[in-house]
């Protein structure tokens, strides 16, 4: 119960700081917009091309911009060594991980939500009206699970990278190779949904995302104490 209270306290504190500084949402959103705009200029505008490539572009935008927010997760706790203050809390230290994961998830989903309408405008693909309702809802589930899986692995790697002097460089170097299954799974399931491919199902990929998220959440739960201390 006390652990849940700590998780909620961390989320509330992180969101309050973000509301004040707008540091994470603004930087991730602007970066993601730039990715979408650059790809929009460099690709032919045919409908088939959009449906074929847009899912990959969308997830590149989500993941590349997401790393900016993940980098700040523990970096922001370095000022005045407030991470030590969190570590003194009389609860299992995995509560810090779950608090940070929840904060990251909320901020990344907020950025995703801002980005999706812009993606529809730039790529002339209004998914809310052009996709059948069940496919649209499944796509939202893919966004949720893909973001959760990415945040789950990103949060623990951000904690590892935060203790090094090469934090900004190390985090993407660690995160991108490990998160490849998330990017592939999310992009493939999105492509199947966007193309309304009758011969393919997005569900095997969605299960990959769910298992990936679960594995990294359990791994972080078991190891986070050691990650913080060493």
């Amino acid at each position: 119960m006390q652990s849940l209270q700590v998780v909620l306290a961390i989320v509330r504190k992180d969101l309050r700081r973000e509301l004040r500084t707008k540091e994470v949402v603004l930087s991730t959103f602007v970066f993601a917009v730039l990715v979408l705009v650059i790809f929009n200029f460099t690709l032919p505008a045919s409908r088939d091309t959009v449906l074929e490539l847009a899912p990959g572009i969308l997830w590149v935008a989500f993941t590349f911009s997401g790393v900016l927010g993940l980098d700040r997760t523990f970096a922001s706790e370095k000022e005045n060594r407030s991470l030590d203050g969190l570590m003194l809390a009389p609860v299992d230290r995995s509560a810090i991980y779950f608090g940070k994961l929840a904060s990251n998830l909320v901020l990344m989903l907020l950025s995703d939500a801002l980005l999706l309408p812009l993606f529809g405008i730039l790529y002339n693909f209004n998914m809310a009206t052009e996709l059948p309702f069940p496919a649209f809802m499944t796509f939202l589930l893919v966004v949720l699970l893909g973001t959760l899986a990415y945040a789950a692995v990103g949060t623990i790697l951000a904690a590892i990278a935060a203790n090094t002097t090469m934090r900004e460089v190390l985090l993407p170097l660690l995160l991108f190779p490990i998160a490849v299954p998330v990017v592939i799974g999310a992009a493939e399931s999105t492509r199947i949904l966007f193309q309304q491919d009758p011969l393919a199902s997005p569900w095997p990929w969605i299960r990959v995302l769910a298992v990936f998220a679960l594995v990294f959440i359990v791994l972080a739960w078991l190891t986070f104490e050691y990650v913080l201390e060493e």
């Binding site: 700590v6 500084t21 005045n80 809390a89």
Partner: protein, 234 residues
């Protein structure tokens, strides 16, 4: 109450703390003196379970100290405060972390910060910042208080007030806002300031290059200075 058994900490080839054995009983105020790099901060971080010892163990009432973080308060070199948040928000956050119900207004008043309660921490002066950090460390009424250079940044009045609180840590004078009276409390503080340390200490320890060079009763300032110079010769 507190016991370090063969406590050792190495960072690669550097030995920050050699096997150290130390007991602190309830009611004691132990002042740990030492030069820069003597291992004072490492010792306090180990005592607070912030880092794992390379060897040895830290016990609190006979059990591993990590199981008793609720009873330990640490004031470190860094304040652990969030610059973007106000003084009040910082204290409310730490109260939630420890699951304690306290009147933050009373705590702020006790720290003489009531007028700046809603000011972001980054706008506070060095002394105010330190007073808020002290309030943060005492918020959950710890039984073992670990203080690393607590007088840094405090003006003479605030330093005297802190000394008074430390001298009466277990007594009724400590009750207002910062914790109920309890005879079960102990303090370990590290400082370069021999005079300030001696004002509050009931016991003195001197660390030299990670080794416990002296552990005994309080000395008069002149004797302490001589002994300190002799024991920390490098």
């Amino acid at each position: 109450m507190f016991e370090a058994r063969g406590l050792t900490k190495r960072f690669g080839r550097l030995t920050a703390l050699r096997p150290l054995d130390l007991r602190v009983s309830s009611g004691e105020v132990l002042a740990v003196f030492g030069r820069n790099g003597a291992g004072k901060t490492t010792f306090l971080h180990l005592a607070a379970s912030l880092t794992r010892p390379t060897a040895g163990e830290v016990l609190y009432e006979g059990r591993p100290a990590a199981e008793h973080r609720r009873h330990v308060g640490l004031l470190s070199h860094a304040s652990f405060l969030y610059s973007d948040l106000t003084a009040r928000e910082n204290l409310e956050f730490y109260a939630r972390l420890y699951g304690v119900e306290v009147s933050v207004d009373d705590v702020l008043a006790e720290a003489n910060l009531a007028a700046r309660a809603n000011a972001p921490v980054r706008t506070l002066s060095r002394g105010m910042h330190q007073r808020l950090a002290v309030a943060r460390a005492l918020l959950h009424r710890p039984k073992l208080l670990l203080l690393d250079e607590p007088y840094t940044g405090l003006d003479a009045v605030s330093a005297e007030k802190l000394s008074m609180r430390l001298r009466t840590f277990g007594g009724p004078a400590f009750a207002g806002g910062f914790g109920e009276a309890s005879p079960e409390r102990a303090v370990i503080l590290t400082t370069h300031d021999l005079e300030r340390g001696l004002e509050v200490a009931t016991r003195v320890a001197i660390l030299d290059s990670g080794r416990l060079a002296y552990d005994g009763g309080p000395l008069d300032p002149r004797e302490l200075r001589e002994r300190f110079a002799a024991l920390t010769s490098n």
